[in-house]
């Protein structure tokens, strides 16, 4: 029975260790903010962090997450106060919103490793996240805006 730390809380999940983390989060832990899009790490909708690094939960077996820190979109502030969330709201990034949990998680991970990303950095970090509504232009701008917000003294 895999034991996971999800958003700071310990979860004992009664599940096959080969079950993808995505379905354990959604169907067993009831954390539906992480989305299913393709099941093959082609779209990024299921992006979560394992020990702070972005992974595609749809191809990450529970066994690989055991004993590690899992952070999902629900692990970001519920009031939207994270600089990435603030930038997303300020620049009206979302449309249908389905891919945005994954977009936000990828962007948070990018800014944690590269505080002032170039366009090339953004392309490399975000090209795995599809958006059918086509919000890419605003995602790029919002990542740059979030970088400013992160740098600004609180």
């Amino acid at each position: 029975m895999p034991s996971l730390e999800i958003n700071g809380a310990r979860h004992e999940l009664d599940a096959d260790p080969q079950m993808p983390l995505l379905w354990a989060l959604r169907d067993l832990a009831g954390l539906t903010g992480t989305k299913y899009g393709c099941g093959k790490a082609l779209c990024g909708a299921c992006t979560v962090h394992l020990d702070g690094s972005p992974v595609r939960a749809c191809v990450t077996p529970l066994a690989a997450a055991a004993g590690r820190r899992v952070t999902t979109i629900e692990g970001l502030p519920a009031d939207g106060s994270h600089p990435v969330q603030r930038a997303w709201v300020e620049l009206d990034v979302v449309q249908c919103g389905y891919c945005q949990s994954g977009q936000v998680m990828s962007a948070v991970a990018l800014l944690a490793s590269i505080p002032a990303p170039t366009d090339a950095d953004i392309d490399a970090a975000m090209r795995g996240n599809l958006c059918r509504c086509g919000t890419y232009q605003r995602i790029r701008a919002a990542i740059k805006r979030a970088a400013e917000l992160l740098e600004a003294p609180r």
Binding site: A15, D16, M19, P20, W23, R26, D27, L28, G30, L31, T32, G33, T34, K35, Y36, G37, C38, G39, K40, L42, C43, T72, I73, E74, L76, P77, A78, D79, G80, V84, Q85, W88, V89, D92, V93, V94, Q95, C96, G97, Y98, C99, Q100, V104, I122, D123, A124, M126, R127, N129, L130, C131, R132, C133, G134, T135, Y136, Q137, R138, I139, R140
Partner: protein
Amino acid sequence: MSARSAGRDGAHTSRRMFIAGSGVVATGLLVPWYFAGRGGRVAGGLLADRGPGLSPNAFVRVAPDDSVTVWLANSEMGQGIFTSLTQILGEELDVDPRRIRVEFAPVDAAFNHPAMPMQFTGGSTSTSSGYERLRKAGATARAMLLAVAARRWGVAADSLETADGQVMGARRRAKYGELAQEAGALAPPSEVRLKDPADFRYIGRPLRRLDSLPKVTGRAQFGIDVIRADMAHAAIARAPTFGGGVRAVDDRATRAIPGVLGVQRIAAGVAVLATNTWAAQRGRDALVIDWAPASGSDLSSNDLRERYQALLREPGAIAKSAGDAPAVLAGGMRAIDVEYELPYLAHACMEPLNCVAHVTGDACEIWTGTQMQTTDRAAAARLLGMAPEKVQVHTTFLGGGFGRRGNPRADFVLEAVELSKAAGRPVKVTWSREDDMRGGWYRPCGLSRVRAAIDSDGLPVAWHHVIASQSVLRGSPFEGLIGDGKPDPTVAEGAADMPWAIPNLRVEVHEASSPVPVQWWRSVGHSHTGFVVNGVLDELAQLGGRDPLQLRQALLAGKPRHLAVLNAAARRAHWGQPQAPGHHLGIALQESFGSIVAQVAEVSVEGGAVRVHRMTCAIDCGFAVNPAGVIAQMESAVVFGLSAALHGEIGIERGGAVQSNFDDYPLLRIDEMPFVDTILVASDGPMGGAGEPGVPPVAPAVASAVFAATGRRIRRLPISSAP
């Protein structure tokens, strides 16, 4: 004013707009579907459930706790109506839209589209169809609150003012919530005065989206996120060929998988129910099914192409006939005879199709992101042998729609209903990406043949356009939009009613048959005709030695709105001026869904690879309720159009779809994203749409630029497939 009169007046407004506009619902108001008054009827019980306070119509409630709620008849699928419709209500109610609670409406005749006896989201009509009725709904509630304040204070109502949820007199003020209960006891006034647009505080000004916070915190609920107590998860094995069936099933391996609850044959195929989605999917994959192929199960895209090519040589049903194009074409002027081809396309919403249903003895509840609540409910009721009123539809956010979530057969809804009835518990059906991609209901493929001639000045004088494609309206709830003996107007839209001044124009349609089911896809027929008509214009410009922009200008004389849009895009993109080394421009314009959009693509081609650097987009949509939302829709449409232009194709082999996921059906990614520069061109035209009209010009503008760069004419999409 009652909700009844709001609905009726809204219908009249929409009729004017639709007649002025074009596109699928534009064709729309065709009389058989018009039932005056039904748009506003409030069914019994709808308002009774609202709790205390003021709810004079279906759309609004002001509660004693000072909260204000709006009920949206339309579904939010990214296009921004969550914001624009709330903005409209807030304007006339005088409440800041940012503090209005938003609910998706239950199915009720009160929420029917003003132009149709059903609740649906499509045709880029949500904001225009909601405009008048939500203004009246807000103004009615406001007038009743004013009346209560006037009575309490012993003053005339017209001596009072309102601002952001308060009534203000000379010395006193009251929050709406303090007045709501008393106002709720009044009879709604029979007439209300709407604001002078010059006094608007919210409408017409950019407003940030109201649904951002739930969507950046993971709290927004999509259909796929619905969880009910004791719910089973289902995955369905569907026939690999369109129309195929099941001969035999061996489910022994499936039943051995932990978590699998059962296997059920249903109309859609063979379903596996389990305690979680993964077990259901594994169980589905472990089924051994002997499929019964449908007739025509050896069908391929090549077969369809040959069939359609043969049709193009035959006369079709007349969609438009002005002058005598065939006679002029026989006159020996300089002419072209060209064929254009577009493939089937999947909607590929990021949220795969899904539905939760719970059938109990005499009732049914459905939770899903749908674009067609009324017909989904009717289909479920028919399947269950229940009255429609026994079926409740709870609309969630839609993780993309683009037309797919308004299925004429309620396909993704009925299978969940059928399974829940059989299982006696709530069931969630989740389509895999492969199910979604291979499940049909595509944008139709199509071929067009155009013969066109120019005069000695290089101006087109005759245009004979024959289209072979499947009808999306036949067999759908919208079939009544097709005139007697006429072809499906959506096949020819954008060609039959093209804005270009062509004295002899003939458009013919062959409604082709194919076992592949088809459906409306963002911009419908315009997604074909925008490409073909603009492509032919470019070919005629070349034949006559004219510049593509200059020819278009010449053909739009007397159409100032179109010319303004065309010129705005060309000017902003520096048409006719030197570009960056290796960069080339192409231009296209299409009028659709009541709006006019022109785009200029800036493209380079290196080693055969097309790179789009910038898209300049000008739109005249008449009056924009939320200009920020219109700009966002233009950016969205450019990406949607580029995915189709550069990559999109569903091929058919052995009776089924070739593609299955995002590796073989690629969508545009951020590293291919051009900069999109949008210009809103102001006009006093009627309110048009925003969700769809930005799509049709994308592919032809890019194709035009590729020709400028390479001399290669693109007559087949996607561009990557062109010979």
